[in-house]
């Protein structure tokens, strides 16, 4: 009997499997990358994605983060101001931080989209949702980036080390209030969430354990942007935590936590859910947790086993995960052929769909999967492609050059030559009034392809597909855009959208009209299947 965690055999490795792996280990499936991974075989593909340190990734750290502001500096800066002026200054600082966080969102989206190390960012996003803090409370863009950097640095490193570094980050110390936790007046927030949400899960500790852990973590604070251990704040008395007794400090508590077998199971289950999109079976969970624990919480061996396992490539897993908003907007940018997507707009769109980067709704992060979907967010997903494409088309049409305008005038004159005078005048009138998209539609309606393609990206998407008939066009699009096969009735609807009466009707990227391109792409991107990866 084949065990579910046995590695997939190289003979079973194909383009579809490579595409699935890349879909989950990254934020998109560009054709060349899929081909490359397909050619490497399963071991090679997983290694390529997992051992990413050897891949050069040159990214400039954000240069727009406002310098950390210290209370004493503010007092100095505003010493000569009136009360009202001082308030205005403070508000200005807050606004600056808020704007910087928005820029950071776009910065990260761009990185997720363009990095040659997709798994690094996909894991960083997982950790951001797992060890959730929000810039709503932690108002410093610098501290927000600082923690983001920790997630990236330790993304596929050691989970225990990562946990310690998160606990020491100013962002987390602030968010869960440990920075002001003192001997005699400990704050339980960090201790509670550490046990409940970050490492063990409910039912695996008691309220007393939380109290004692909180005492142990007293002294873990920060001095502006640096972790600081304040001996004088630390409660060094005896504590009993998960059955162990001693004068534990924060590091001691962490050691005891990671001694518990359940620590490996808790995070492993979450990682499986994140990458596979299903509930792990007992066998999968046991096996992977064993690997994690057996390697001292080093993540790579467990992740390697996960990505190579037969279980990961089961039909119940492939093409069955609802794209997160971030995944959705980045893949959409690719599918609309956007060479340089407006990342700030995409960040806002992802926020509207329920995933506001750096601003999760609470410390639980995002539930994900089906929780992403409700009437609102679904309409956002369905309408975003049309909105984005329309915006690009409007830009393109509005920037029609003088030559093109002359060309249009000539062609229009010719086309309308046989029309009755008043109809021609009415048309010209309407054309003058129309906005760029309206003009485009009107030109197409009298058989003139606008000299500026509706949105260069879309034309390029079709050009790269290589088809000779309408049927081949539909199949090529389905291959590129969807993770699941089409139903016959869906194929028929899409053929009709192309204006073709049968699959064999000749059609090439050169002969297809702008209107047909737009309609069929719009329908593809409006399919429930498109929400899945």
């Amino acid at each position: 009997m084949a065990a579910v965690l046995d590695p997939i055999s190289p003979a079973a490795w194909d383009r579809a499997k490579a595409r699935h792996l890349l879909n989950r280990a990254g934020f998109g499936v560009p054709a060349e990358r899929v081909s490359y991974l397909a050619g490497l075989g399963p071991e090679g593909a997983v290694s390529h994605l997992l051992e990413y340190e050897s891949i050069d990734a040159q990214f400039v750290a954000p240069d727009f983060l406002p310098p950390p502001v210290r209370a004493i500096d503010i007092r100095f800066e505003t010493a000569m101001l009136s009360e009202a002026e001082r308030r205005l200054y403070l508000m200005h600082i807050q606004d600056r931080e808020r704007d910087a966080v928005k820029q950071l969102q776009a910065w990260w989206l761009r990185r997720m989209h363009t990095t040659p190390r997709p798994l690094e960012e996909k894991l960083a996003l997982f950790w951001h949702g797992h060890f959730a803090t929000s810039a709503q409370k932690v108002r410093s863009a610098y501290q927000t980036y600082q923690l983001n950097h920790v997630f990236r640095l330790h993304a596929s490193g050691n989970f225990r080390e990562l946990t310690i570094n998160v606990g020491k980050s100013p962002s987390m110390l602030h968010y869960l209030d440990n920075k002001s936790s003192k001997k005699g007046n400990p704050n339980e927030n960090w201790a509670r969430e550490l046990l409940e949400l970050f490492t063990l899960g409910k039912g695996n500790y008691t309220e007393d354990d939380i109290k004692n852990a909180a005492r142990a973590f007293t002294g873990w604070t920060c001095n502006h942007e640096r972790f600081l251990y304040r001996e004088e704040w630390h409660d060094d008395g005896l504590k009993t935590f998960l059955g162990r007794t001693g004068p534990m400090d924060g590091w001691g508590v962490i050691n005891v936590i990671f001694d518990q077998p359940v620590a490996a199971r808790f995070i492993t289950a979450k990682l499986w859910r994140y990458f596979a999109g299903t509930e792990p079976s007992a066998e999968v969970l046991d096996g992977l947790a064993e690997t994690l624990r057996g390697n001292g919480y080093a993540l790579k061996p467990m992740l390697r086993r996960l990505f190579l396992s037969d279980a990961f490539y089961q039909p119940s897993v492939v093409g069955a995960q609802i794209k997160s908003p971030v995944q959705f907007v980045l893949m959409l940018a690719d599918d609309l052929g956007m060479a340089n997507p407006p990342y700030d707009l995409l960040a806002r769109a992802a926020a509207d769909m329920g995933q506001n980067l750096f601003l999760p709704p609470n410390v639980k992060g995002w539930d994900g999967n089906r929780a992403w979907i409700n009437a609102n967010s679904l309409l956002q997903r369905y309408n975003l492609p049309a909105r984005l494409a329309a915006a690009r088309a409007r830009e393109a049409a509005a920037s029609m050059g003088e030559e093109a305008k002359e060309l249009v005038k000539e062609h229009v004159k010719e086309r309308l030559r046989d029309w009755p005078g008043d109809e021609r005048r009415a048309w010209m009138e309407a054309f003058r009034e129309a906005d760029p998209l309206g003009k485009r539609d009107m030109l197409e309606s009298i058989g003139i392809e606008p000299p500026v393609p509706d949105a260069e990206g879309i034309a390029a998407v079709f050009a790269g597909l290589g088809f000779q008939t309408a049927g081949e066009c539909i199949d090529a699009l389905a291959q590129r855009l969807l993770a699941r096969p089409l139903r016959d009735d869906q194929r028929a609807t899409l053929l009709a959208a192309l204006g073709a009466d049968r699959a064999e009707a000749p059609l090439t990227p050169e002969s297809i009209r702008g209107g047909a391109r737009r309609a069929v792409l719009h329908l593809f991107l409006s399919m429930a299947e498109y929400q899945l990866c």
Binding site: R87, Q94, P361, A375, N376, A497, A516, R518
Partner: protein, 405 residues
């Protein structure tokens, strides 16, 4: 596209009200088209947000308090610009519409509303009002979102909350993502293209096929529900004679709300907003103009509801994220402040002045001290109007003023 003309519709309702049937009848006709609305769940809340921090002192004016004139040598409103309420206060003279509602016994003014440790940042204070949090609490979900999640037996529909606005307010955020936002209800839903990408084609490619019950099935069924829900919104808009929104509006789209109610939409909470109240300079012109607009809009709204026989079903709540400082600044305006009055409007409110006007002498570093907590007003609305457990929605029990009849 069949469009029931407003005149025809109004003729119909006039006939029925003349038969002496209760206004609830309209709720029941809606039920014939929508999933059943029981008569006592027909109450509707309309939230009006005045963005920017409306200066309460020049809205409900303490006209007999010398301190007011001392603090505002240029901005204090003179007698000729005031509409007397009583010896202690008067309304800004541009709010004649609101004054008529006062005279008709349909206006409740809750004085001195704020919260402890007030924040004077637009974003932060607005967040606090939307999430009903304490000043040192950071909540992601909104008070209305939590109401949508908690209330109503059966499955609440997405359009249980409708914001006639470009963005869904944070107040609507909840675990189930209920409550929609649209500036143009006539066209709300999936946007067809200009070619063969029609709504019919969209429906066909997403038709459920009785398959597995997995993610795809879930998505398809949610799509169907979304189509039904958005169709209901569009239908109600058409039935109610709501016009297509061709250009962005800066005033309160309360006529759209009246139309949707008239069209029988099963919504419990509507949300609209207008901005511009951040009057650091040129307050005299700007605030008066905006208050005039606000007052006219709200008065027209109530008249429309009255004509449709819907007025008794609707309570309108008006708030701003903070008031402004007592003293004028050097530039013809005022800066961010704290407490300010809230309004509750409708035939079913307990009309009159509620609570205590904040003192102009006992200030907190130049700012008014609040005498009522806004969460109390929310509690009154949640319990006495929407009929739900306020403590469950707000997370805490707040003292409840008697604001609804």
């Amino acid at each position: 596209m069949l469009k029931l003309s407003r005149r025809a519709f109004l003729k119909k309702t006039a006939l029925f009200t003349s038969l002496g049937l209760a206004p609830h009848f309209l709720g029941r006709t809606a039920a014939a088209v929508e999933p059943a609305l029981s008569p006592d769940s027909a109450s509707v809340l309309v939230v009006v947000q005045l963005g920017g921090g409306n200066d309460g002192l020049n809205t409900i004016v303490p006209w007999n308090d010398d301190a007011y004139y001392r603090a505002r040598p240029t901005l204090a409103l003179g007698r000729e610009n005031l509409l007397r309420i009583n010896d202690d206060c008067a309304m800004n003279g541009r709010m004649s519409g609101l004054m008529r509602l006062w005279d008709a016994g349909q206006l409740a003014i809750v004085q001195g509303v704020g919260y402890p440790n007030p924040d004077r940042s637009h974003f932060r204070s607005m967040e606090i009002w939307h999430t009903a949090s304490d000043a040192d609490e950071y909540l992601g979900y909104g008070w209305l979102g939590r109401y949508f999640d908690n209330c109503c037996s059966g499955a609440p529909v997405p359009q249980i909350g409708v914001a006639v606005d470009a963005q869904r307010p944070q107040a609507f955020e909840g675990t189930h993502g209920l409550g929609i936002a649209t500036t143009d209800p006539v066209r709300f839903g999936w946007m067809p293209g200009s070619g063969a990408d029609t709504v019919e084609a969209f429906k066909r490619i997403n038709a459920p096929d009785g398959a597995t019950g997995g993610a795809l099935d879930f998505l398809r069924h949610t799509t169907v529900n979304t189509l039904v829900s958005s169709a209901e919104v569009r239908e109600a808009a058409r039935r109610g004679g709501v016009e297509e929104r061709l250009r962005p509006r800066r005033d309160l789209p309360l006529d759209v709300v009246a139309g949707l109610i008239r069209g029988g939409l099963s919504t419990r909470v509507y949300y609209v907003s207008m901005s511009g109240f951040d009057t650091h300079t040129n307050q005299a012109n700007q605030q008066d103009r905006l208050l005039g607009q606000f007052s006219d809009n709200v008065a027209a709204f109530e008249r429309e509801l009255e004509r449709d026989g819907n007025a008794a079903r609707v309570v309108t709540l008006v708030f701003s994220e903070f008031g402004r400082r007592v003293a004028e600044n050097g530039g013809g305006g005022t800066d961010h402040g704290t407490a300010a009055p809230m309004f509750l409007i409708g035939p079913r409110v307990k009309p009159g002045l509620h609570g205590a006007a904040p003192s102009l002498d006992n200030l907190d570093d130049g700012d008014l001290r609040h005498t009522a907590d806004f969460r109390g007003v929310y509690t009154a609305v949640l319990e006495d109007w929407l009929g739900t457990d306020a403590a469950q929605v707000l997370g805490k029990r707040f003292e409840k003023p008697a604001l609804l009849a």
